[in-house]
Subunit: 134 residues, 2 copies
């Protein structure tokens, strides 16, 4: 199949596929007589793999490091890195929960100070913030 068809099947732009190839994330594709890239069904899985790894938090640069010299995925490396990514995700969750709480209590404070007037000076706002977390 041609590049656009593959692109549609996996939900990316053709330029993205060329980009992945240029970065070595995909093998150099074979070409047909006119020079157009020719893809097999297996390319679909290769690209989905990249997208999956990305969704787990791996950068494009990290993806090749998950592979053995034989181009298979190294079980232990993958698990190690997955645990790392899970820890990172969990840390981020904690951080975001704090942020959400911070925002919540700020909203409460602002609402209760609303009685006075419509707006707050930068100084007043700053004071509120300092009482809080910053």
């Amino acid at each position: 199949m041609k590049i656009s068809e593959l692109a549609k099947l996996v939900g990316v732009a053709p330029s993205t596929i060329r980009y992945y190839e240029s970065k070595g994330l995909l093998p150099k594709s074979s070409r047909n007589s006119n020079g157009y890239r020719q893809y097999e069904h297996s390319s679909i899985e290769q690209i989905k793999m990249i997208k999956f790894a990305q969704s787990l938090g791996f950068s494009l640069e990290e993806i090749p490091t998950l592979k053995t010299p034989e181009n298979n995925l190294d079980h232990t490396v993958v698990i190690e890195r997955l645990q790392q990514k899970q820890n990172e995700a969990n840390a981020l969750i904690t951080q975001l929960q704090k942020k959400s709480q911070r925002i919540g209590s700020l909203i409460t404070q602002l609402n209760s100070s609303w009685s006075n007037g419509q707006c707050l000076t930068q100084k007043q706002m700053s004071d509120l913030l300092n009482e809080g977390q910053f």
Copy 2:
């Protein structure tokens, strides 16, 4: 005070302060006879304000939109935006929790398939992933 002193007090680089000024996030500072920027204590709060807004998820571009024409913070706008930011944070938390779970079950699956051998082919991995979420 001079720019480096202010920078140290708020924990940013001098170049960052110049950058904020160039973007209009800070007023044009006054200069002393030699052309050096001169800052008052109030600049500390202005910068901390920016940093706080950033920590709540506001982009530098968004920050000016929180202000009234009189350069005060508009109470209702701020609260509205804070609620928006809180919703965004909460949505992100949910998403990350799913991701963390996804990783967790993937690890379990990989561990249980470990019995067979050391490595998985890309095809095997892809199959595992497809069983899961992707």
